[in-house]
């Protein structure tokens, strides 16, 4: 992905897309090793004059936890986390995610770290944003080999959360919880619908005319570069240097 206008970096575009998905929320929690979602959350906070409250789980400075490892999950169970991010070694067309293994679970070909908190948070966080930069038939599959967390449930199952969108390096999908299907919302500059279809192994809905993903506005870019980047540097120094530092020195 190299075709965004020269003055907008891919990371900036993706962070802007995610910030718009976050929208008007009270509390966004971002998992470890997620610099782009972290950028988006901090951007949303700048745009909202301090709201939403942002927790960066990777960092001690940007979290308030004092009740041990259970507090994040208790907090979500209390309805106090509105937005969270999940990914997957595989993601399928029904919004199921796989963080466990490829092949037969009993004798897997590939083993991933594990499901972490996904089998709970996917159900109780109202807006879960799926983020996977690698957009390929290897990652976006018709059916995951292992369901760490399902995209939906029968109506009698208690669930007040789930996926709202899937953001990749090529496009933005929204997720229709009723139909349990993704819908192509926009294609990032420099990419095409045919390319998205070619590299996506699951079926998805799309309008006749798929718009191009909107570029960050000049104001948004300035906020990201001037206000967000310095905060980010505390938790993701390498990322902040690579994405924002260079430009600053330019």
């Amino acid at each position: 992905m190299t075709a965004a206008p020269p003055d907008v970096r891919d990371e900036e575009l993706l962070a802007d897309v995610i910030a718009r998905l976050i929208g008007d929320s009270r509390h966004v929690a971002v998992g470890n090793a997620s610099p782009i979602p972290a950028t988006a959350a901090l951007l949303a906070r700048e745009q909202g004059n301090g709201s939403p409250y942002v927790s960066l789980l990777g960092s001690r400075a940007h979290t308030f936890w004092t009740d041990g490892g259970r507090e994040l999950f208790d907090c979500a169970g209390q309805g106090r986390i509105d937005v969270f991010f999940l990914s997957g070694g595989q993601i399928d067309g029904q919004g199921n995610i796989n963080l466990v293994s490829i092949g037969d679970y009993a004798h897997p070909k590939v083993r991933f770290p594990g499901s972490f908190g996904s089998a709970y948070l996917y159900y109780v966080v109202p807006k879960v944003i799926l983020f996977r930069t690698e957009h390929s038939r290897r990652t976006l599959v018709p059916k995951v080999d292992f369901i760490s967390a399902p995209g939906g449930n029968d109506p009698n199952v208690f669930r007040n959360g789930g996926p709202i969108a899937l953001v990749t390096n090529r496009c933005l999908f929204s997720f229709d919880r009723a139909k349990r299907r993704f819908r192509l919302q926009s294609v990032h500059p420099g990419h095409t619908v045919d390319e998205v279809i070619e590299h996506t192994a699951f079926d998805f809905d799309r309008p006749d005319n798929v718009p191009e993903t909107q570029l960050p506005s000049p104001d948004t870019l300035e906020l990201m570069r001037e206000r967000v980047a310095p905060q980010l540097a505390e938790v993701y120094p390498a990322f902040a240097a690579k994405v924002f530092g260079i430009r600053k020195s330019a």
Binding site: S101, R111, G114, Y120
Partner: protein
């Protein structure tokens, strides 16, 4: 009541072969020196419960063939990549894996802490995590209607093994914000602690310190292990040894490399 031992090895005596051993996540203070001592002793058939995830500790114990069953939500070296011995053992089928999700392990230990046979938990229904856990049961919420919910049986570990910054002579242990260490000690039959330092003043006599203190009442044995979490970090005390962890990831990529690592950093290091 806790017994201070002069050697870490002696403190670890309660951990026998086949022990159901609960250990904390990387950010809560991992007893790595004690882990190396267990490997040197050659402990076997551990049922290792990592609350709720693990990194180097589980990978080392698995690679050294100390683990029969692993129960956790994830094992990874984080920024240093996948956990190579864990991945190899799973694909080779040499350990029994009980995949879980973080809040389920916290809840199952809280059930033991409260002396109840189970705890309910939302989520899980429709996941393969639940599908492969016959010990977790879906029931219709007895206080609701057409409301399926998962019940998790209490987990009562034989031993909880933790590392903390500070203890006092009475065996009280300062654990700070790492409250799951308290739940682990409450849930486990016995708790073994390694600490960086021991102070004379009783931690419970200072209301500010007391707030982050695990009472010695729950502690079986304590041994001093300076930099006892190395090469991992200890929150608020020291950070992880990135160079060493990168070297581990490199060496442990193959079984031979891992065995060289064991010889050099676990066995010889002690002899030296």
């Amino acid at each position: 009541m806790p017994k201070f031992t002069t050697s870490i090895e002696e403190a670890l005596t309660p951990i026998g072969d086949g022990c159901l051993l609960v250990v904390p996540r990387e950010v809560s203070g991992v007893p790595m020196e004690a882990t190396r001592a267990l490997i040197r002793r050659g402990v076997k058939r551990l049922h290792l419960l990592a609350l709720p995830t693990s990194s180097l500790q589980a990978d080392l114990l698995i690679g050294a063939r100390c683990v029969e069953t692993l129960e956790t939500s994830a094992v990874s070296l984080g920024e240093f990549g996948p956990a190579p011995r864990f991945s190899a053992a799973i694909t080779a089928g040499t350990i029994k894996m009980k995949d879980a999700t973080c809040p389920a392990l916290h809840a199952a230990l809280q059930a033991a802490e409260k002396g109840v046979p189970f705890m309910p938990l939302r989520g899980l229904i429709g996941s393969d995590v639940l599908k492969y856990r016959p010990d977790w049961k879906v029931v219709d919420n007895p206080l609701g209607e057409n409301d399926p919910i998962v019940l998790l049986p209490a987990i009562k570990p034989d031993v909880a093994l933790i590392h903390a910054p500070l203890a006092d002579r009475a065996g009280n242990v300062w654990i700070g914000r790492q409250r799951e260490l308290v739940t682990m000690a409450h849930a486990a039959a016995r708790t073994i602690v390694t600490v960086e330092n021991v102070q004379d003043a009783n931690l419970l006599d200072d209301p500010v310190r007391a707030a982050g203190t695990l009472p010695g009442f729950y502690v079986e044995t304590i041994a001093v292990a300076e930099r006892g979490a190395w090469p991992l970090g200890l929150p608020d005390v020291y950070s992880l040894d990135a160079a060493h962890l990168a070297e581990y990831a490199r060496m442990a990529a193959t079984e031979d490399g891992f065995n060289d690592y064991l010889k050099h950093y676990v066995h010889d290091r002690r002899a030296a």
